[in-house]
Amino acid sequence: MPSSVKTIEFWNRKFHYYLGLYFLFFLWLFSLTGLMLNHQSWFRDLYARHETQYDPDIESPAGETQLLQTLDVMRQLNLKGEIDWPPTQPVGHIDFNVSRPNGSAQVRVDLNAKHAYVKEFTNGTLHAFQIFHTFSGSRFSQPASSRDWALTSVWVLAMDALAAGLIVMVVGSYYMWWRLKKRKTLGLMILVLGTSACAVFVVGVL
């Protein structure tokens, strides 16, 4: 066997378990929350949340754009998270929602009265855990949506890294399996079975 092939095999094998070990906790989080999302009936009061309301005076928000003004209001109210604005704003208002896995807030700001009306929600632990699965700050079906909190982008980077790591692990495992002399036939049958089961859905037969 050429030394270059040996080197590839050596590192491919190592990468397989190094990536697996590094991403272990991320994999468990997305696996368990995936199970939660598909089995909501297993949980009672999953979406129960604690609500607090307050309506403080604020200073006129600084900034030229809606984003800068919203960020300034959030700074004044000590709120953090991903921002979501309604499609239209009432005149003289900045209204927005801000959310992160463990909670969210609905904020209505009367710019003329320099007054904010805030409803803050604290999610339960399991609900917060579940939200990590979908916490991307972006919806592909809503082209206007975008991420505006740095930590959302970091979390999305972690999701992407896990996805890329899994793809590398799967492709690498195909190579490792194919190099085994004894397990090709049964392995091929199982791979064809899994691929067929997946393909009938992807192509829309089911």
Partner: protein, 204 residues
């Protein structure tokens, strides 16, 4: 003995589940970064003289959905009914039906026994993302009203359970390699540190 069993199961379960893992992993990129550009309004097809079940004005939930499924073959649509909206004012029943690759919105005029259908095709990435999100947390009471969704739910669950098994057996198989313990433990600790640090930063 245990080592050999676990090694073989790790391999065979991994091979079976690998296409599903690739699907879930690849669709993450579209879910996180893709943008669906709205196309032209789909053409509207009209179907007449439908044989319609009754009771949509009083039935709700699974019972209503079960009756609505009787309409689907008559308008040449198959898939999962997303929800039902009954408009009492003009006695219309409106509902979306979807499966990977295609979705349709059906508007049934109960008194006229006609239905209009708007169909839309999904692109490949949208189809993967659709499967990634099914059955999902919404409309739990009626979810799985199409056999395809029911089977997919089983396969998605199997993917998760097998992934958990593969990850645990993988840890065992790694631990058996004495020469790899130190660097493996360092990577496991680094992963745990990254994970806990990120979660803490997001929720603090």
């Amino acid at each position: 003995m245990l080592y050999r069993w676990l090694r073989d199961l790790h391999l065979y379960f991994g091979l079976f589940v690998s296409p599903f893992v690739l699907l879930f992993a690849a669709s993450v990129f579209y879910l996180n970064h893709g943008k669906l550009i709205a196309g032209d309004a789909p053409p509207v097809e009209t179907y007449r003289d439908l044989s319609l079940p009754d009771g949509f004005d009083r039935l709700k939930g699974r019972e209503a959905v079960d009756r609505a499924t009787a309409i689907l073959p008559q308008v040449r649509v198959s898939g999962e009914i997303g929800y039902l909206r009954y408009v009492a004012k003009d006695r219309h029943l409106i509902f979306p039906v979807s499966k990977a690759g295609a979705e349709a919105t059906i508007d049934v005029d109960i008194d006229a026994r006609t239905a209009t259908v708007k169909r839309r095709s999904m692109n490949f990435w949208e189809s993967l993302s659709y499967l990634h999100k099914m059955p999902g947390p919404h409309n739990v009471a009626i979810r799985g009203n199409w056999i395809g969704t029911g089977i997919w739910r089983l396969l998605a669950d199997a993917t998760i359970y097998l992934l958990l098994f593969i990850s645990l057996s993988g840890v065992y198989l790694w631990w058996a390699l004495k020469a790899e313990r130190r660097i493996g433990a360092a990577l496991l600790a680094a992963g745990a540190f990254t994970f806990v640090g990120l979660v803490y930063a997001v929720i603090r």
